[in-house]
Symmetry: D3
Subunit: 255 residues, 6 copies
């Protein structure tokens, strides 16, 4: 069930049902940022959306929230089209999403993340949310989990097999392949050099552009193909369902 | 050109071109909130997205940002599936979007809005952004505009003709028709009474639910149909293009 | 009863009484900003104060708070004497006023506003305040209303009759007339051209000064006179009392 | 010159003149809070306003801003009619006032304060404003001063002579006398006991009400009279002018 | 008992005991900032730490928190090694310390302060914390006190006797003597002129450095010696214990 | 050179020198939180302080800031003595430390961290700081690095050799050993069971206490000894010096 394509009575009925996933929700979360000479700017929010929607299409008992499409991408701001929230803004926004979902009775809020640069801020937000309860000596009525889609069981192994060299860390062939599978009419090609991009630390936007002139880090995205992307999606979607079931099975503590 | 389905070099080239719309960008913005017994929770962000994407499909010279899909919907929080930002959070997030887009050289940032409840906060955000420049005695490098899609020239007139009674203010047949045109497989029906919902002031979430038990305000959404939605889209999309051209033609002041 | 010229036991007794307006309070709110070549910088906070105090003078059962005299005037900052809060600051301050008044048992908080530029931020603040309750699934113990003084029943009609041309939107003859009636010793004259000022969009302070070099928008303030101002006050004050009664008669919802 | 009763060209001309006080401004600042059984809720903002306006009336070369009428009065919130800002809100608001005034070229911003409870927050705000410059290794274009009206040279001595016993710290006969001189029609009487109120620490609102049931601290306000108030004003107003001249004579440092 | 050198079961047992100081805690708080040509940058946090630890060493019934070592020192930022929080940051941090300690049942939280520049912000923080309770019409479960170490009974008298001239206000011989007693191997000497530093107002960092080129205000720190420092500590430590007992003996109000 | 035990002229001279580490600074950062039945509450800030001070003692060319002793420990708040900042507060405070140090010309700011729970928030803070520069299209004048002390080259290997079983994740024998080496008089013993504590996810404070009743996660801290701690320190201190040299050798990018 995609929340945004459902009516409120449908969500209400779902929440009141006794399905194991009734009060669990998947929030695809990513970033809109440069992905090298050929990658789509939306790659990092499209990938978790594609996987979550594929999972939902195969099993309607999943509830999927709209996609949180802008994340923490300050280091990519020297490349046109990148949109970033400051970490403090990102924290406030995630926190309001969580409060909204918890307000309705969602007890297991699962963020399926598509951008490594989001991880620290999402985790800090979880702590900010927990802290409200911890200072108040009270029990929260929900719990939260962060999962990067490439950390779903089996996915990284598959990516390594598909792209034994030149996978890299940004504008990777695996994430680009996932978007190619979903948007085959948007496959782009470009010449780039070196074949495998350099690696290095991530700092501010101008420093990033100095180090990684075409935006890639350690990757050779031309290895991507729609077929490989489909293979990844086909592995990731059921892995997500299984992972969500495990999470939703954890009871909330009570006094 | 949809930013999220483009690469950064494509956006970069667009920004450096001399097309009249080269440095203008449309940001669809809305809300994910209950829309009565039959409306989609995503209605308010889907409508501007549908219209903006239709405009872009007919004229690639438009640049369209990803959709800002969560807005100010605190009053709908007593209905399942609603997700809301607090106004202060919403302001911070919009401000970061604007800063990001301006950073790349977008000079005319046009928000196509789908939710009346967003208007005050978006306008307050514009003032917050302008204030940074005004206190500093400096000239901003961009300008911003807010347009509700129903205020595009001709649209309200058409809606009044299509739905002479029972249009109302929330869960209106016009907005629901727009989503039906785009998602015909998601058309929902439900019995509701009274045929035309009551009207009244908007306050907090529990008060809202007391006043408007099924979520509608003044509307009779069963009048919606995919065909009527298509008619609205077909009028709104070219009106958007024209409106954007007028906005983009305003020069930025310089000393 | 003017709060600031009363003692706390007087306000306490009022709150505990059973008068229909016992737990209602009027807060005059405006802005301190340029009002063209002849208007007082205080015009926008003086007008609601003048009207509210006139109403209170005729009917002591009104409770009037001190005047909130600085609002959102960032666009006027290029003119000497303007003082502005940022929207975010304005929201925090209004919110604390509301919390203070509600703390004492005021249940109907009525803002009589004198500055169009305040409207978006005041409405966003109301949403921020409601959101606290909406996220908490709780009922607020008060309700709030915003009314511009020129929207009091009959007032705009009268202004249009008094000033059929050249009323405009800023430094209008009607608002200047109201201040002239109250401060006849401060009536100022100045040559200005054109007779009716231009109109246009409102953005940052330097842009504003470019578009509206003497500060006026669309107005010809020389048409103002103390007598006309008195006429407006005499209409607005009883309209305020009546409007407040209607608002105060709305019961707070309870479970 | 009272800013709110002047036009912007008048303030503009003043700022460009070469009078020693041309770029100095007095901001009366206080609080709206209970002042015992007989004191006006507005006492703490009325006193600095009365004194500043008296000084301005005797010497038009003073520029006086509108009165900042709501301050930090959280400890008085258990008494009806008190309105308080949180310290963090108060800081943001004062900071915006300072930024606005500095924007126009005011170089010496002088806060004439009427509420002891404001002092810490005003001083913290000054530090917050200075910090912006200090972190940036830059020179501010203005300087700020805080002066409580009772600390104007000679005033405390006079108050001690007028009220050798029972002056106290809150709802003092001296401040009440000042308001009586300005608002003789608002003189209130009430029985209270003990004749001289107790003293003690200031904490939260409920604790305050426990310790000081009628709101007074250490004072016997019945000793106030309009004549004594006039005596205080007549001393304080010229002391303010002199103090402001001394402050305005300090040059701003330059590199 | 030093919290940071104790285990949680030890603190837990202490809190549950019936000792008069069981639920009282001393928080040494200061600043890391320049202290003239010879003073240690840590002087202002070392002094309260030294005194509190000396007191605890003589009487284990004192509970001493870790030292809050960075305060409000924006005016010293033009001197290398100074670290400052903005007042708004400082307030947030102190507030979280207080919330943490109160969470465990500490009812009397006593800040032993070593930096005059902290006072306004600490007091504003107390008001911010109280305001939470005051707006909510609730009773806090703790109370707070601020004491500068030089205001402990007898200490200023001793300092005046030890340093009848040239004590001054910053980089004073008394505070430097206290650090010399504790860190005799870190005694520094330097030539400076004039022998007694100038005095004046405190504003931003560049202004401060203009006025006080070597950092001192009004002081002649070469008069310090480890022996004099020991004398001060030996007086201050028992004074702290006595003062804390008096504070801890105040019962928390209850309804 | 320990900043807090130095004078400002000493730090100033260091900054102006041409030593490879002249403009590098180590900031020990940790947390004050429960460390199981025997660990010191200060363990997480004491460990990086002990290691950094040991390094400085062996090589005075290191500049070490005061210790940032309170971090993000919301999950430990159900255990007495824990003090935590909220992530948002922590971010503001770290940011002010960085701004202060950068203000003086420190170009390489190295955080030696002692608490895993701090990592996300520190990294989010770095992004917040970088974002200021990235949005402004400007180059920062410093760079930052985070290193957990156990990630210094060789340290984890040694810890695994010393404690092949029962090392765990919280209240580990290695961190407790480090504090025992530095504070041998504070070695504590206690009976606990099971010998090796359980593991699990970290959420809010009450949940944490349910899962980990005595505070430990996966550890058997009784294996700690002062001698083992000394071994760890003796490895970590030179590793820190080497790591800092490598970091300080990275030039800041320039246009």
């Amino acid at each position: 069930m995609l929340i945004h394509l459902s009516s409120w009575p449908e969500i209400d009925a779902r929440l009141k049902s006794d399905h194991p996933l009734a009060r669990a929700v998947v929030v695809p979360i990513g970033s809109n940022e440069q992905h090298g000479p050929t990658g789509l700017l939306g790659t990092d929010w499209l990938c978790p959306e594609i996987i979550a929607h594929a999972a939902e299409a195969s099993d309607d008992s999943l509830t999927v929230a709209p996609t949180f499409n802008i994340g923490m991408a300050q280091h990519h701001l020297a490349f046109a089209g990148t949109i970033s929230l400051r970490p403090s803004t990102f924290m406030a926004a995630i926190s309001d999403w969580i409060s909204s979902l918890a307000r309705h009775g969602f007890e297991h809020i699962y963020f399926l993340n598509g951008h490594g640069g989001n991880v620290a801020t999402i985790e800090a937000t979880f702590s900010e949310v927990w802290a409200e309860w911890s200072f108040a000596e009270a029990r929260p009525q929900m719990t939260m989990k962060l999962r990067n889609w490439w950390d779903l069981p089996g996915v990284t192994g598959l990516c390594n097999r598909l792209f034994p060299t030149g996978h890299g860390m940004h504008a990777t062939p695996s994430e680009i392949a996932v978007t190619q599978a979903a948007y085959p009419e948007r496959v782009k090609t470009a010449a780039y050099a070196p074949q495998i991009a350099p690696v290095g630390p991530i700092r501010d936007a101008l420093d990033y552009r100095d180090r990684f002139p075409d935006g890639r880090i350690g990757s050779d995205p031309a290895q991507a193909s729609p077929a490989k992307g489909r293979e990844i999606i086909d592995l990731a979607a059921p892995a997500l369902i299984k992972d969500l079931h495990a999470f939703a099975a954890e009871p909330l503590p009570q006094d």
